[in-house]
Assembly symmetry: C2
Homo-oligomer: 274 residues x 2
């Protein structure tokens, strides 16, 4: 079921503010890939204040899967450092609401769930470095083939903080061998978007038994002469939050991100003169 009145193609040439307005007005609730080109898109984790300090510690200790790009004031739905008039209750196309570690609802507005006790944490997302790879001539298989990126549970232990911990989730992109160094160098320039790869080659070295069976997303073909390259994935914090089974926790629905006014190539994720 969808309430969408404008389509993805209608929004492709719109600014970040225009896309957010369409989302806020209930005119669009689809995915955000390819929208507001050049602007930072963000993963979202909204949680009660009493867990926020430990969650920020957890993210700080695991900066590759969990790059913090904004933290809201307790109870305040606005995120002025990311963009003008961003209201986190209405400006994301779809949200997943978790209660006690179980998906409770998928909604297009969290005004009813919002409370004075909630803190918003926005985290960087892989769209940023994927766009940079494409701009620099490094092909990205799942985008070429219209699929979702394959994601896998690895056995790379995260650094714990309080109740938050577990293993890292990684994405895999097959890269032609002669472009691997370039892909590494380009993605390293985006620490706010998972940075350089965390491994490449044999999946067994990071505890993945079968690349044709991703835990999330779609399997993609690895052609002769290509190397599977693994990056830290933004599903990691969602997975960790789910395992922590907080009384309430709200995330974006997969692929339905917050679009910021901050440029994805900016030195920091703080909007100048906001």
């Amino acid at each position: 079921m969808t309430t969408t009145r404008v389509s993805h193609v209608d929004l492709v040439d719109q600014t970040a503010a225009q896309v957010r307005a369409a989302i806020r007005n209930g005119d669009y609730d689809g995915h955000t890939a390819g929208l507001a080109a050049g602007k930072l898109q963000c993963n979202l984790a909204i949680l009660p204040e009493r867990f926020a300090l430990d969650f920020l510690r957890f993210c700080q200790r695991n900066p590759k899967p969990c790059p913090i790009v904004a933290v809201g004031d307790s109870g305040d739905p606005m995120l002025p450092t990311l963009g003008h008039d961003i209201d986190i209750r209405t400006d994301v196309p779809r949200y997943s609401v978790f209660r006690n570690g179980q998906l409770s609802d998928e909604v297009t507005d969290i005004s009813r769930e919002w409370s004075d006790d909630l803190v918003t944490v926005a985290l960087g997302c892989s769209f940023t470095f994927e766009n940079a790879l494409l701009r620099n001539g490094v092909p990205v298989r799942h985008l070429e083939t219209g699929k979702n990126v394959p994601m896998y549970r690895s056995d790379i232990a995260l650094v714990s903080a309080g109740m938050f911990g577990g293993d890292m989730v990684v994405t895999m992109r097959p890269i032609p061998e002669h472009l691997v160094d370039q892909a590494k160098e380009i993605s390293r320039r985006y620490p706010q978007a998972h940075g350089a790869p965390i491994a490449m080659g044999d999946p067994a070295q990071i505890g993945i038994s079968d690349l044709t069976k991703p835990d999330w997303g779609d399997a993609v073909e690895i052609k002769p002469g290509e190397v599977p390259v693994y990056w830290a994935c933004g599903v990691t914090p969602q997975n960790v939050l789910l395992q922590a089974a907080l009384p309430i926790c709200i995330t974006h629905a997969p692929g339905h991100m917050l679009i910021a006014d901050v440029a994805e190539g900016a030195e920091t994720t703080i909007l100048p003169n906001h």
Copy 2:
């Protein structure tokens, strides 16, 4: 008064762990510039847990003056992500203890001040990008002349969080005009150490009336053909903490930093396999 039994020159070729051991044992309490070359050095802010969430929000919103490189667990003096066996109570040469916004003590050990309620926040420091400038042939005047870097209160407003806010403190380094772009590009590579300059040229544009009268540190000569270049300064958070007048707050004494095992050029400040 000093309890130093070994001198700075004795420690120059020692590892970070060896320098920290000399400090912990009470054999050294001097400044750390030039020690453990290639390792990250850190500014320090230790504060009660109830202020930690707002302080982390403040640092996240002001990443250039306040780049977070580690956050300890509440009451835990160890910082395992920065280095092996780092005990923040003993491993920094000198500490400033502030009570209610006033300098109360300067000590070489904070075991007596430590409590289950305290949280350590380590922040990046300008030594990292200064070393990179020098390695790349960009001269740094205050180092050439054996002075402390000149620091100034600017009128650049910080983004507030809770009780934390104010204006940014900046450092100034005169750079030959033909090397300014290079200095900018090199320092931008170190987001964990203040990153690219925040301004250059006329000091009036950022509210500084007289470069010959720094608010902290020493004035340095600006030679013909040189441009004054301004970077965000790690004194900013100290100044902000002081103004917030917390019941207790502990920082490193100026120049007397925490030396980490993390390499200053590492992609993240999280020690692998710690």
